[in-house]
Symmetry: C2
Subunit: 212 residues, 2 copies
């Protein structure tokens, strides 16, 4: 079989997936798990040339959520969140923990909480994530927010890690004015994910090295 020789550009994502798989395989509570995964995500977003072009494409009408990897036992998933200029989410929850790492551009976020009168109220100051920044969402510490591209004139991309197969999680979107809650299941923006596993060039180089 003839195979295209491509540099192993996707290696940082593969290494993140392997290390995170090892973390979720160990028994630990949620906060310890998040603490173990956060530095792995920080390393992943310290460079951005590993992101496959197909998972970096904005859509003119809405943000995109491309699956990069789903753990086969659905203990975690990794997505690229691609913001076209000026795009934003509705107010939404996750129902599972999530780490949001800024890869390109910037995004703004606002957390919300239910007040004593059963109204959804902005909670805390708006946040702004710049490249390399990481934010947490979690049912334990604050799960409802609204997020937007900080830029009106260009694409921004963040990489999210969630404690489940996020595209298949039953969650909610909210209307702050009316307090209306609607069911929400995000799905994914693509029917393909990147192939992380073609390490063949490195293996071939090793063989050549060994024979030389």
């Amino acid at each position: 079989m003839k195979t295209a020789t491509t540099p192993d550009q996707i290696a940082p994502l593969r290494e993140f997936v392997i290390a995170t798989t090892e973390v979720v395989t160990q028994a630990m509570d949620e906060s310890a798990r998040i603490a173990a995964i956060k530095p792995l995500l920080a390393r992943l977003i310290s460079s951005d040339d590993w992101l496959a072009e197909d998972a970096a494409k904005p859509h003119p009408d809405h943000y995109c959520q491309y699956l990069l990897h789903c753990d086969p036992l659905e203990r975690f998933s990794v997505v690229s969140f691609v913001w076209g200029p000026g795009q934003r989410t509705p107010i939404h929850d996750h129902t599972v923990w999530g780490l949001i790492g800024m890869l390109r551009g910037a995004e703004t976020g606002q957390h919300y909480r239910w007040d004593a009168d059963g109204r959804l109220q902005a909670s805390g100051e708006p946040s702004r994530l710049e490249r390399g920044d990481i934010e947490l969402v979690s049912p334990a510490t604050g799960d409802i927010h609204q997020v937007a591209n900080a830029h009106a004139d260009r694409t921004s991309i963040s990489v999210h890690v969630y404690g489940a197969n996020i595209g298949a999680v039953a969650r909610h979107v909210f209307d702050a004015a009316s307090g209306q809650v609607k069911p929400f299941v995000s799905g994914y923006s693509s029917s393909a994910v990147p192939n992380l596993w073609d390490r063949s060039d490195a293996v071939r180089r090793n063989i050549t090295g060994a024979a030389a």
Copy 2:
């Protein structure tokens, strides 16, 4: 986010991946592992409408090996092997166990063994796999073979499960006449794999069902 609603056609492959992940997570010897996975593969190849079109395309010049799933700890991988009319492999080994399940069309195979004089000799009768048939290769029972599309006039497709990330395994091709052995690392024919994890339509239907 707007998501295309597509029927969950890929469910049989996802179910195979989940069940096989559960098998490789358990401690057992290789023959028990193969015995546990074989009926899962038999079920997978009992229908063929789950195979993504991108992983079913023949190439005019050579066979293709599309990655369908790689276990993140590289304990197993699943590929579609797509034969154009009349295409064949060189004589090759695997160095790890593999199960070959016929999905569409048919293929012929011939096992080889080193004889006492250090020559590679055909071993046993040529085999023919028809749709639904499964064959084993393994260093324990016979690892060297040559395989070909049984059809000169159409595409055949088999689904292979290997006990490693097969595209990155250092293995060998052989010339029977000269006895020459060359290193071989197959890689994969595509930089993308199918997204198995968009179960969103079923989750949405469940929510609707619960509310009704």
